[in-house]
């Protein structure tokens, strides 16, 4: 009997501790998810209702119209064409910048780990500085340079900026991954008759998916979400969506259309969210996994 009583109390304690743990976890996840829920709900409510019941309230009305407005007709900074132009600006900026910076990072990593030369470690240390130097420090030099090469107020200027600014991170990621690939592979390939490029394409790149996925996700979300350079170096229809959202929030004289803003914000957040959904698994795996043995 004594034994049973003990078992029962142990079980009770176990249940209590589980309830506390899960309860706390649920509370915290609610805190994290609440802003998203509020924004999603508001993107479907009509404006009088929002003004009457407040931002945080259960929807009494439902319409997809605000999404349509945000996308196609809403007036941002004087033009009334929604954020679709800015959305495509962001795509035209993010996709090439991600691809170019990742490709360059992989090349750099390959050279700095497998084709070391006199001073290559010092060079790597210099590249590393780019990881630690805050982006705003380079605002003035960029402004000067973009003016000189006539890329001010242009998506192409932003592509250039993000390629260069991202290089430090992509180089760091790839180099640290490649350092763990045995040098013997490269030596064997050199004796086999392969040169610099054949070794890169046939041996290094096929081993690289884990780190390339990490780098692409990192770059894509980083470049998409970045808005400092976008706000400063572009205006109007050249702005990426993040910069346009700033203009949207700045409101101006008219009544603030919370529902349209919510929809616009969600449109701007969709691509990185999608990337995390699709690639998050590989991201964690790639960050924790070493190179193949």
């Amino acid at each position: 009997m004594a034994f049973d009583a003990e078992a029962a109390s142990a079980r009770r304690r176990w249940v209590t501790s589980r309830v506390i743990i899960y309860g706390l976890l649920i509370v915290f996840s609610l805190i994290y998810i609440l802003p998203l829920v509020v924004v999603i709900l508001n993107s479907f409510r009509d404006l009088p209702e929002i003004n009457h019941n407040g931002l945080i309230a259960w929807p009494q009305s439902f319409s997809l119209d605000y999404w349509y407005q945000a996308w196609d007709t809403y007036c941002v900074g004087g033009t009334c064409a929604g954020v679709k132009g800015n959305f495509f600006n962001s795509l035209t900026m993010t996709i090439p910048a991600t691809i170019i910076s990742t490709a360059l990072g992989a090349m750099n990593g390959y050279i700095l780990s497998k084709w070391k030369f006199r001073g290559s470690d010092a060079l790597f240390a210099c590249v590393m500085l780019g990881v630690f130097v805050p982006g705003q420090l380079s605002l003035m030099p960029w402004s000067w340079l973009l003016g000189r090469i006539h890329l001010s107020n242009s998506v192409y200027g932003l592509i250039l900026i993000h390629c260069v600014q991202g290089l430090s991170f992509t180089t760091l990621f790839c180099r640290n991954f490649y350092v763990n690939i045995p040098d013997d592979l490269v030596k064997a390939a050199r004796i086999d008759g392969a040169g610099f490029w054949r070794i890169f394409w046939k041996i290094i790149v096929p081993i690289s998916p884990p780190i390339l996925i990490v780098t692409v996700i990192w770059q894509f979300t980083g470049i998409w979400n970045e808005f400092l350079f976008g706000v400063i170096f572009t205006t109007g229809n050249q702005q990426p969506i993040t910069a346009a959202l700033v203009a949207l929030g700045a409101g101006g004289l008219s009544v603030h259309a919370y529902n349209v803003s919510s929809a616009a914000v969600l449109i701007g957040a969709l691509p990185p969210l999608l990337v995390y959904f699709l690639g998050g698994k590989y991201f964690v795996r790639g960050l924790t996994q070493g190179a193949i043995k």
């Binding site: 013997d184 592979l185 030596k187 050199r190 004796i191 008759g193 040169g195 046939k202 041996i203």
Partner: protein
């Protein structure tokens, strides 16, 4: 014509001298083993032959071509690495094709080479697998296959068996030997295992501290080592070294080794050069297998045998033979005995020392006298 000639090679890493004047020559079809303890420079030398390391000074010739500044791919060599270095994302077939594709070997010839080599190494059933799906021994075969498809002038092996377990290592050793007989290519083989060097090589270069200590046929290296390092490195258990003195023994030269009682025992040299200076200090070297239990019959069979009585400290049976640790003066020596005639612990055994096979070394220079 020599297929590999190494002339007075030096290698420095900054102020560190790794190789100090290496001279080695390999004749067509020879199997040369570079053997030595870790850090002796043998792998560096191999990497220099392959062209993976630069030459600080000296010349490397492959065939009749000086290759000091020739790229690895143009040296007409193939190399098997200790880590096998198989390309992990490629199948076995692709691994073997890689070198031929890089060299634009015609397709039919590629197919033919894969067929020939995979049959030779019995890896036909593995051709479509990836290296990760192979066992250690299979990877080893594939690594050799990748070298063989190219039909190079020179094969380089860098400790190819040291990642295998003991049993497999012996098997693969035999295979490599068979393979070399069949293929007949000049081979340079780096190992730290003196047994591998002895069994495989037609000539052994024993290296130590960046220098070749001795470069000769295995049996010569084993029985006439040029110095105490070589004598101690080759053979297991290694040669016994006993401090001794040359003395005159009735007109013949003998070695006086310390005896139990505090005096000395004279062991007459078999090839007894009388001219040797009596009173000279020497190191007396004798291998464990040249110590026997003394008997009259043995003396009749082997006239070079002389008696020496010593106490037995420890006996270690291994099954096939029994090792015994004995004491000559203050020096411990090891003997290798037939289990039927093995000494007992605590016994004072009278050894028969086979003086036909002993070595004498100069104590200061450690060179063979």
């Amino acid at each position: 014509m020599a297929s590999l000639t190494i002339r007075n090679i030096f290698k420095n890493y900054g102020a560190v001298e790794v190789l100090k004047g290496i001279d080695i020559e390999a004749n067509q079809g020879e199997f040369i083993a570079l053997v030595g303890p870790s850090g002796c420079g043998k792998s560096t030398l191999l990497a220099m032959i392959a062209g993976l390391e630069s030459v600080t000074d000296g010349e490397i010739w492959i065939g009749d071509r000086m290759v000091n500044s020739v790229a690895p791919k143009d040296r007409d060599i193939a190399m098997v690495f200790q880590s096998y270095a198989l390309y992990p994302t490629m199948t076995v077939r692709q691994n073997m094709l890689f070198g031929m594709e890089a060299r634009n070997v015609p397709k039919p010839q590629q197919v033919e080479a894969i067929k020939r080599v995979s049959a030779l190494l019995q890896i036909e059933q593995l051709l479509n697998r990836k290296p990760g799906q192979l066992s250690g021994g299979q990877r080893q075969r594939v690594a050799m296959g990748r070298a063989l498809v190219r039909d190079p002038q020179l094969f380089l092996f860098d400790e190819p068996l040291s990642n295998l377990d003991a049993k497999l290592r012996v098997e693969m050793r035999t295979e490599i030997k068979k393979l070399h007989h069949r293929v007949g290519k000049t081979t340079i083989y780096v190992t730290h295992d003196q047994v591998e060097a002895m069994t495989l090589a037609s000539r052994i270069a024993v290296m130590h501290k960046g220098q070749v200590q001795q470069f000769d046929e295995p049996q010569v290296v084993y029985s006439r080592p040029t110095n105490m390092f070589v004598a101690g490195f080759m053979g297991s258990p290694s040669m016994n070294f006993i401090p001794a003195q040359l003395v005159d023994d009735g007109g013949k030269t003998a070695v006086a080794v310390p005896s139990q009682s505090g005096g000395s025992t004279k062991l007459a040299l078999y090839n007894g050069a009388a001219s040797r200076a009596p009173g000279k200090d020497v190191i007396f070297g004798v291998r464990p297998e040249h110590l026997f239990r003394y008997s009259a019959e043995l003396k009749a069979q082997k006239p070079a045998i002389v008696p020496l009585t010593v106490p037995v400290e420890l006996v270690e049976p291994t099954g096939a033979e029994t090792m015994a640790v004995m004491k000559v003066g203050e020096t411990e020596i090891v003997g290798r005995f037939d289990p039927d005639h093995a000494p007992q612990m605590g016994e004072n055994i009278t050894l028969g020392v086979d003086m036909a096979h002993v070595c004498l070394f100069e104590p200061t220079t450690q060179r063979l006298i």
